[in-house]
Symmetry: C2
Subunit: 363 residues, 2 copies
């Protein structure tokens, strides 16, 4: 190795920054001090510092001193926003991206895109790639937001470096940041209320356990049940993960289980329409025998004539709101106004009205 002296000094300063002994914006030793410390001439020290300035790690002001740069990037805006979502094949993501792209393009910003396929390893790779290619800010749809996330180190260093970070659809619980999302708790409450008000008392639910939206929609449904003096039991819920869904969760046993209920709350339309198809294949009629209510109000229509009653997902609006928020954040680093879209339910013909009695809210 036997490096040159100035390389030794440069590496030493780098280490100090990495170790955290020198923080962003902090002043480093003066050239004279370093010269004395290492026993090298001031010129050699200057060469070391000069190389680090070129790397963008330091900046110095005549008469004042040399400082650690606040962030590697702030020098020039690249006018590119990094967007990381789980999928693009789904029914809502293309719309979200469309909404974003429109706003970003209007403001002469480009969009850099990566998908995580809801896998944290892909999320890591996506974040690292985008950090390398110098984006101005990050719009991220969390991956497995309800589970411990191994990429928190990256998110934290990202925040430390001053990158605007905005989450859509959900946010990580351990990371207090700005978000643009559907109010999932109220959404859960709304779909429970809807079937309850139409007389349903035996209510089954499908919720995702790896996304925080599943937790929140469950919590909302729970809120609603308690307000009505009801209680959701563990048996009334089917928790599933992304992988479970991909493998397929419907079988004979589940069919038998569902026969004890009159209504089903679905985490989203992807599940709801699969359920609908499954039920019709096994001659269980919707909504006569079983009512279904869901979330997303996607316009993909199954083979049946049933249109599922569901809460509307803002999609385009969510995308454009996220883009607008991000552009605010890029300009004002202090901007931290989250957007929560209030749920709105659109009626289809998937819920049967079985009004037992008028005003019969108590048991």
């Amino acid at each position: 190795m036997a490096n040159a002296k100035y390389v030794i000094v440069a590496n030493w300063i780098k280490e100090q920054i990495d170790k955290g002994k020198l923080r962003h914006g902090q002043k480093i030793q003066t050239e004279a001090q370093l010269s004395k410390q290492f026993g090298y001439s001031r010129q050699t020290i200057r060469q070391a510092i000069s190389s680090l300035i070129n790397e963008g790690l330091l900046e110095s002001t005549q008469g004042s001193g040399t400082y650690v740069r606040k962030s590697k990037r702030s020098d020039q805006a690249s006018r590119v926003i990094g967007v990381i979502t789980t999928y693009n094949t789904d029914y809502i993501f293309p719309r979200i991206l469309g909404g974003m792209e429109e706003v970003l393009a209007d403001h002469e910003y480009a969009m850099q895109l990566a998908f995580t396929h809801n896998r944290v390893s892909d999320e890591r790779r996506a974040l690292e790639l985008m950090l390398q290619s110098n984006v101005d800010g990050f719009i991220v749809e969390p991956t497995r937001s309800a589970l411990p996330n191994p990429n928190m180190d990256l998110y934290h260093s990202l925040i430390d470096q001053g990158y605007p970070l905005l989450f859509i659809n959900a946010s990580y619980q351990t990371l207090p940041t700005v978000h643009v999302a559907l109010d999932d708790r109220k959404t859960g409450k709304m779909i429970y209320d809807y079937v309850f008000e139409r007389g349903h008392r035996k209510i089954f639910s499908f919720f995702k356990y790896d996304d925080i939206q599943g937790h929140l929609r469950y919590a909302g449904a729970n809120d609603a049940s308690k307000l009505h003096g009801e209680q959701i039991n563990d048996d009334d819920i089917y928790w599933y993960s992304t992988e479970d869904f991909e493998k397929g969760i419907f079988d004979q046993r589940l069919l038998e289980r569902l026969k004890n209920y009159t209504a089903v709350l679905c985490y989203n339309d992807a599940l709801a329409y699969q359920l609908l198809e499954f039920l019709e294949k096994h001659d269980m009629h919707v909504p006569e025998e079983l009512s279904i209510v869901s979330v997303d109000h996607s316009d993909f229509i199954g083979k049946s004539n049933i249109e599922i009653t569901s809460v509307v997902h803002p999609m385009q609006k969510l995308g454009s709101a996220a883009a607008k928020t991000m552009l605010e954040m890029v300009q004002k680093p202090s901007y931290n106004t989250s957007v929560d879209f209030q749920p709105r339910l659109v009626e289809g013909n998937s819920v049967k009205n079985i009004q037992i009695q008028i005003g019969g809210q108590d048991e």
Copy 2:
């Protein structure tokens, strides 16, 4: 101004490069020569050269000399591929992008995305944005590929600058470049052949006139008709544009017109399923009264139970093939192998077999 000496020297060298007196790859004067020429010390000259090296204009080799860099851009790969498509909301684009993203991410490349909404002004904006943000190559789905394109200046300067440029789905006729696409001419031939072989002789067609795919599929259908000794008349074709389709092209007059035919060739599924819905609303049965064949084989299913017979669009495969081709082009600038996907037809139940006579191919 009264600049520092090293700034004077640096500016002088810059001028020499700009004036063309020093060309890319050429060796500049030695430090000793410059020192003598300016009457400044070698250290001062070194400082000037050092600043230009940091700007990326020069590079020097110990023992050999200092040289003008070949080009500003090729020095560092940004590992970002620019992708410009018309839409993302459609049924095929999310899949194409998905296929691309997978391959690019696997090779640690990021994807920068913009949509043109099939408008040349948006295409221009997208190209300009991407040129600014330093991408390594362009994957472009042409906008209104059949009409004269006002952005040819940008495409030409892009090629001149040595950017790899790859077109998907279609290509501009005036621009000889690499492409990855479905063989649209054969596709047109295939759908014509399919209905012809099932006895249809009164064949109507819907083709887009602003995309070259429309022209090619029409040409293919024409090829087929001639081989069968038939002739497509002008009255047998409905030419439409992106705007026409958005406004809606189906009306009573068209319905009357279609009653003279037994089969319809559709440019793509977006049109075919709208046509299907329109026909059913007006009590015209498919395929009993009118057969439909189309292109894309999208899996979105209309309210009816009809599944339209159509040529499969490669989608994911096309996306990943495009990404792979682009990565080849980035590595080898000479790479110019286009990929043409051969059409494959998947049968639904939208075409009636009206075999008039066996082997009755003449007239």
